[in-house]
């Protein structure tokens, strides 16, 4: 099957800075992809390009369509939550359901109501009277009631407390995600999604610096805790990143044999955030 999203040589400049610098990647169906990068790395620009919200150069196909020309057709199969603030403040819960039902051919109002009935959100309330967490629940209820093929989430849990954040991802995984659907998510809070993701895309300065599945991460990258006596031996193997923890060094290796590394100290799979720091700092050096 062809890729769900196919990006070839995307370019987008804001004045002197390149938000997307000849960026290429592809996303297969049925994956949960984390698009991770520091502020200003081009994450949001990449999402906007995919959603048809910004003009850009290069080739991009989303579900076989060009988002520049076919945004509204695309939106039948694509949902997005930009962040919690974008639901119109004046609208009532009932009205937003009616509206979605009226204009969205793939919206199932009963499903949305069922999801809302598990929350404390009253149907007659206006969005502006709801807490941030409730607005996110409402938006999630809308999105989960749409039979879409691609869900794009841009910092969906920003500003939410921990309970809402946990609930948000567990609802997505348990009630929404299946092999037919694809989720593309950006977030600063890498730790909270690392067990959810199937694939990683690291972006820095408009370029993809890492593109692999979580399984490949485990195969390809190894973190080793090295004592002072073996540190020179370890450095000779060319770690991509090195940091101090409690008097010992933590070295991150790419494509170095596991057996060899286990000789040096305790070897383990790196966390996404460590890998991220290594890749992005490496890119900056």
């Amino acid at each position: 099957m062809a890729a769900l999203i196919e990006a070839r040589g995307l370019c987008k400049r804001y004045g002197a800075t390149a938000a997307l610098d000849n960026t290429s990647f592809s996303i297969e169906a049925g994956r949960i992809v984390g698009l991770i990068g520091p502020n200003g790395a081009g994450k949001t620009t990449a999402l906007k390009a995919i959603l048809g919200l910004t003009p850009f150069e290069g080739g991009l196909s989303v579900l076989g369509r060009d988002p520049r020309r076919e945004r509204h057709e695309l939106m039948q199969d694509v949902c997005f939550i930009a962040d919690v603030a974008v639901l119109p403040r004046w609208i009532k819960v009932q009205q937003v359901l009616d509206m979605a039902d009226g204009v969205h051919p793939k919206f199932n109002k009963g499903k949305a109501k069922q999801f809302l009935s598990r929350t404390d959100i009253p149907m007659t309330a206006k969005v502006k009277t709801l807490s941030k967490g409730m607005v996110t629940q409402l938006h999630l209820a809308l999105v989960m009631a749409i039979d879409a093929r691609l869900l794009v989430l841009d910092e969906p849990t920003i500003g939410l407390d921990i309970i809402y954040r946990k609930e948000f991802y567990s609802s997505l995984l348990n009630d929404y995600f299946d092999e037919e659907r694809t989720i593309l998510v950006t977030t600063h809070q890498v730790e909270e999604i690392q067990n959810v993701l199937t694939d990683l895309l690291f972006i820095n300065r408009g370029r993809i610096v890492l593109d692999c599945s979580m399984d490949e991460v485990a195969e390809r990258y190894t973190e080793v805790l090295v004592g002072p006596e073996k540190i020179e031996q370890a450095r000779a193997l060319g770690p991509i990143y090195e940091q101090d923890t409690f008097g010992r060094k933590v070295l991150l290796f790419e494509a170095v044999g596991r057996a060899e590394l286990e000789q040096l100290g305790e070897a383990r799979r790196p966390s996404i955030s460590d890998l991220f720091v290594a890749k992005v700092k490496g890119g900056r050096a």
Binding site: R71, P88, M99, H104
Partner: protein, 304 residues
């Protein structure tokens, strides 16, 4: 098409003023008649002789004037509602970033912008029409009591001679020609609303003022200012036949100087209006401005 009606509903949900401004204006006008019942009855009794001396046509003029007065008052207030709405509708959604939600729905930018234009061109005129008729009839009921109390037969002087269908035809014609004539102004406001980052009022007013000023300085003429003035009020002499035809009845009351027109429908004069190049040029300019507004909403780079 049903999708388009949902977009209209959504506008009415957000902009309650389209409904309550006509309701408040109409209700206040009727309330004034009720509150001043004593004075009105006294005035009717005072003019008893004059009213009984009126011919059929002249009695009909009372009805036309009544409905007309409601239509004019409600339309005047509705104009402010519409102008503020047009300037706000594509701007506010960017300020509160709800545009990102609207753009997540499978609705084209063209449809969205046209739904907002339809609020000004179709929905507002329909509401003016309906509320003018509703409150006009309500006022007639109040006056029925007044006439009866003053010893004037309400059927004979009020209801009987009323030309309700002619009046409705006139009102429909009036709102249609006005909407067509004002189309380029509406389109300009929508474009400003889609385009301006802030200060929509200044953006709406300054460019025309600058053009007028430049024309004055460079050519010492005022062609553009004349065009704008024509565009605001010029539809009345163009689309209506005032005074010259002789077939409409005009009552002139010497004491008050009021002129009433009995057969409003005979003021309808579409020939000069439809054959006026200004109408068609205005429609073309309006269409270009709307296309520009759609383009701006489509391609403007919004920050997520």
């Amino acid at each position: 098409m049903s999708g388009f009606l949902w977009l209209i509903r959504r506008e009415l949900w957000e902009h309650r003023a389209f409904i309550y401004v006509p309701l408040v204006v109409g209700a206040l006008m009727v309330a004034v008649s009720v509150l001043f019942s004593g004075e009105i009855i006294a005035a009717l009794e005072h003019a008893h002789g004059k009213i009984t001396a009126l011919g059929e046509e002249e009695r009909a003029a009372i009805f036309s004037a009544l409905i007309g007065q409601f239509a004019v008052a409600i339309a005047l207030f509705m104009t402010f509602v519409v102008l503020l709405y047009l300037l706000d509708c594509l701007h506010a959604e960017r300020v509160d970033r709800s545009i990102l939600f609207w753009k997540s729905l499978p609705v084209s930018d063209a449809k969205t912008v046209l739904s907002k234009l339809a609020m000004a061109m179709v929905v507002a005129p329909l509401i003016v029409l309906a509320s003018a008729l509703f409150f006009g009839i309500l006022e007639m009921i109040v006056l029925t009591v007044h006439f009866a109390a003053a010893g004037l037969g309400p059927w004979e002087y009020l209801w009987g001679p009323s030309r309700i269908f002619g009046t409705i035809a006139f009102l429909i014609y009036a709102v249609v020609v006005q909407a067509l004539w004002h189309f380029p102004l509406f389109a300009w406001l929508l474009l400003v609303s889609a385009f301006a980052k802030r200060a929509v009022f200044l953006w709406a007013i300054l460019p025309p003022v600058v053009v007028i000023w430049l024309e004055k300085v460079i050519f010492d003429t005022h062609w553009f200012a004349d065009q704008i003035g024509e565009r605001v009020v010029g539809v009345f002499p163009l689309a209506f036949e005032f005074g010259s035809g002789g077939h409409q009845i005009v009552i002139t009351d010497e004491e008050t100087g009021i002129e009433l027109t009995a057969r409003l429908s005979e003021l309808i004069n579409p020939g000069p209006f439809l054959s006026s190049p200004a109408l068609w040029i205005g429609l073309v300019i309006g269409a270009l401005l709307i296309a520009a507004a759609i383009w701006v909403r489509r391609y403007r780079d919004e920050s997520i």
